[in-house]
Amino acid sequence: MPGDVEDRIPILKLGNALLVTIQVDMHDRLALALEDDLTNRIVQTSAKGVLIDISALEIVDSFIGRTLANIAQIARVLDAETVVVGMRPAVAITLVELGLSLPGVRTALNAERGMALIRTHRGDDELDSEADGDPA
């Protein structure tokens, strides 16, 4: 393998979802490695949801944007829902100006909401009824 072992982004398994937190600046090879790893892990764990937290990313170029869109598409083929969370305002503006509005990717403001989105999408057993507030 060309890349270093340590030069990878960790993927955590949380229930039947995968959690990726990008803490370092993404370069192209790292993004491709992430795509590979995620695809493999989705198949291995038969995960139903992928949550990618990019709140630490200050720069997202067109390549990273496209990789995110690719990951979402690949995940959908493998029957998993991808949610990108925590995008910064400046990054959002840049992506829109680049013409990359990531049409197939679901988004949420933070990791908590992203997980809620994945749970509701899966229609899982224990749905938190926080929003409904039904007393009965």
């Binding site: 959002a92 503006i93 992506l95 403001l109 507030g133």
Partner: protein, 295 residues
């Protein structure tokens, strides 16, 4: 060559400065009669101007408007011009301040040169050039001041007209007022996205009641804002599309592929429904209109 270069303006200013000033002030009074500037103030400006003019010319026999000795005079002119622009004087009225000096000066020049037509002609030409240069300076300063006012107002409008309002926990409203150009879209977008992060909003309502026209460009800007908000994880609803604007948009073939509502209250109701809230009547006022949720 030699008589032409030796202007008699400096000596005239020294000898007849007071008379020239009196005549000039008289002329200024006749020219523009209004109460935006007091008599005393105008006389003070005129005498200060003449003083600096004669200072600038002292010791030289050649009238050159671009010599460094004129700098204090120019500075003063710029100050006068600025204050006039702010007071609302027209460019003509401002420039007249300088140009009305011509007649008194020419009269005294003619007297000084007597029968020497050639010398008088050359000197008049030099003085005309000087006064014209001063007048142009004044115009430039006037226009610059006005432009500064316009730029400042534009900034103020841009800041004033893009407030982000929190309507409910998780619901923001962005009432847009005025034309959306690309620089304003940028401000609007940044404000909205920052507020989404700050208030952890799920839904943003963009109300365009105050947008006079929606053409393809404005629609594109709106869509960009919506797309950026979506990337942050917030949904957008566009509201306040007036009848004429809806018609124009359809005729132009502009498509807004987002949820749109006719007015803000409809959009707010939808937003509340989205976050799982509903509005119920607390007292059964009219028997016919009991809310379906009541129970």
């Amino acid at each position: 060559m030699s008589p032409a270069s030796a202007s008699r303006l400096p000596s005239i200013l020294d000898a007849h400065g007071d008379e020239i000033l009196a005549e000039w002030v008289e002329r200024l009074r006749d020219g523009v009669a209004d109460d935006r500037i007091s008599e005393v103030e105008r006389a003070r400006q005129a005498s200060g101007f003449l003083q600096r003019l004669s200072d600038a010319l002292r010791g030289s026999t050649v009238v050159e408007s671009d010599s460094p000795a004129f700098e204090p005079l120019y500075d003063m002119l710029v100050d006068i011009s600025r204050s006039r622009a702010v007071q609302g004087f027209s460019p003509t009225e401002s420039a007249l301040f300088v140009f009305s000096l011509k007649q008194p000066l020419f009269r005294f020049l003619a007297r000084a040169w007597g029968n020497d037509a050639e010398g008088l002609g050359a000197d008049l030409w030099a003085v005309t050039l000087l006064i014209d240069a001063l007048g142009l300076r004044m115009m430039e300063a006037w226009q610059k001041t006005r432009e500064e006012v316009i730029v400042r107002q534009q900034q103020e409008i841009a800041e004033l007209s893009t407030p982000v309002v929190k309507l409910w926990q998780g619901i923001l409203a962005l009432p847009l007022i005025g034309t959306l150009d690309s620089s304003r879209t940028q401000v609007v977008m940044e404000n909205l996205l920052e507020s989404i992060v700050q208030h952890e909003a799920d839904i943003a309502i963009i109300d365009i009641t105050g947008v006079p026209t929606v053409d393809t460009l404005v629609a594109q800007h709106l869509l960009k804002t919506v797309a950026a908000a979506r990337l942050m994880g917030a949904d957008c609803i566009i509201s306040g599309i007036r009848p004429q604007i809806a018609q124009t948009m359809v005729h132009l073939g502009v498509e807004l592929n987002v949820i749109s509502k006719a007015n803000l209250s409809d959009a707010f109701a939808l937003a509340l429904r989205r976050i799982g809230r509903s509005v119920v009547r607390t007292k059964p006022a009219a028997p016919a209109a009991v809310d379906s949720h009541a129970g």
